[in-house]
Point group: C2
């Protein structure tokens, strides 16, 4: 890929001397000395890598500026909500209502244009003169006001504050309204919170909502700890409630064992 | 910052031998051999740099996905414009009109919410019940239909196809409506297209529209070529039309000469 000027080391006496001095070299990055056995890259590749890093950082700055430009203020953001003397400066043309909350419904204002742009489900709903489009009200069942508010906010800002409950609530909404970016965001969060204690519940949840990233991570954690599985409280509950999911765990475990055996076999032969 | 395991090279006979073999090392990046004098980094720093690069690349992927999520389809995008049998699926609530085009005006549909979100000027205009807000029509003078269309499109997508004329037209609109991101986008483009032939016109244009990035680049190119300046056709025109701008060129040149002299003086003394 790249040619070095000094491949053939032509020796003069002075060079031999300087090279013997140079048995330890100084790293251009951490500035510490190192011996030949700890050598990393040549100077040219180091300089190239530094340039690449600078370029990547510039690209990140550009993308962050683009995100800041494209990001909407949310219609829920107080700074843009307007005061009582100057009401409604944000021109919402639709409201969403958490219908099964038990509490008196508080409408969440939004823009049809934003909903349609972010979700193919809202697009079909609002563009096809369905009831929601005529009435300007979208009722959403099985969701709390807080989750609905966070959901709408995400559609404007691509940001959400998550805990495990909120991540699950938003993942369900993201699945229902096909907001892929939000689904991925929640999945990454749930994977980061995965541990042995919540692995079985997380597995069942991921299964139910087609969250492949979470499913794979949970399954991998469970099959790594099969000896402890049947002692788990949630295990018996799952066998009772949805035995097919338990079968899939055993199938995954079996397939892992077979793969491991094949690998061992291959390495022993070679 | 970081400690190496092998700083103190304790010699055994075999090690001396192997180190003498290792006078040329193999670069972990380009895989070619190099001599000590071409050494770049130690292994540890190389590995760390590789990790950093991977992390930066992941961050770029995440940001790109965020941009794709936040990016609006444009109301001008044919795929979303709807057919004659299903008109207006995009719920525009305002139109922009290029009023001084000479041609019969073609309205550019848009959403108040988007305009308000992207431009403080549109925000003031539309939130304060000015004529534009009541009529739902915003007249924009001194602009072609094509430039207005590209401008509105940028407010939705953060993207524009530029040539030099379009970059100038959009920069003027960006300045007028305080769309900083677009202004920066046009400025970078104009700097990339800067050459000796267009330097004086670009300088005057940048001056007129407060495009600091372009101004500095153009001024630097001009003051690097002062011997050719007065022979330029546009020079006499500028002296005629706006002599203050010419004075600023000479002032910049003088200040550059003084700085260079100081630098030379310092380096001679040291």
């Amino acid at each position: 890929m790249r040619r070095h000027r000094c491949h053939q080391v032509v020796r003069s006496d002075s060079e031999t001397e300087s090279e013997s001095d140079a048995e330890t070299m100084r790293c251009l990055s951490c500035k510490e000395e190192y011996a030949a056995r700890d050598a990393g890259t040549c100077k040219e590749c180091y300089e190239e890598a530094s340039e690449t890093e600078e370029e990547l950082k510039r690209e990140i700055e550009d993308l962050k500026a683009k995100v800041a430009f494209l990001r909407f203020w949310s219609p829920l953001d107080h700074a843009h909500r307007g005061s009582p003397t100057s009401p409604g400066p944000v021109f919402p043309d639709v409201v969403l209502v958490a219908s099964d909350d038990g509490l008196p419904p508080v409408p969440v204002p939004a823009h049809k244009a934003v909903l349609v742009n972010r979700s193919p489900v809202f697009k079909a709903m609002l563009e096809n003169e369905m009831e929601e489009s005529r009435s300007g009200t979208i009722k959403i069942s099985d969701v709390s006001y807080d989750a609905l508010r966070a959901f709408v906010n995400y559609l404007y800002t691509a940001e959400a504050w998550l805990d495990e409950q909120m991540a699950c609530d938003l993942l369900v909404l993201a699945e229902k309204y096909q907001v892929k970016h939000l689904k991925g965001f929640c999945e990454k969060f749930l994977v980061s919170k995965l541990n042995w204690d919540n692995s079985l519940l997380t597995y069942a949840f991921a299964h139910q909502h087609g969250a492949k990233l979470v499913l794979d991570a949970a399954l991998s954690m469970i099959t790594d700890n099969m000896d402890k599985l049947t002692k788990k409280e949630e295990y018996m509950e799952l066998v009772e409630k949805d035995p097919r999911l338990v079968v899939e765990i055993y199938e995954a475990y079996l397939s892992k064992q077979v793969n491991t055996a094949v690998l061992k076999d291959t390495s022993m032969k070679s």
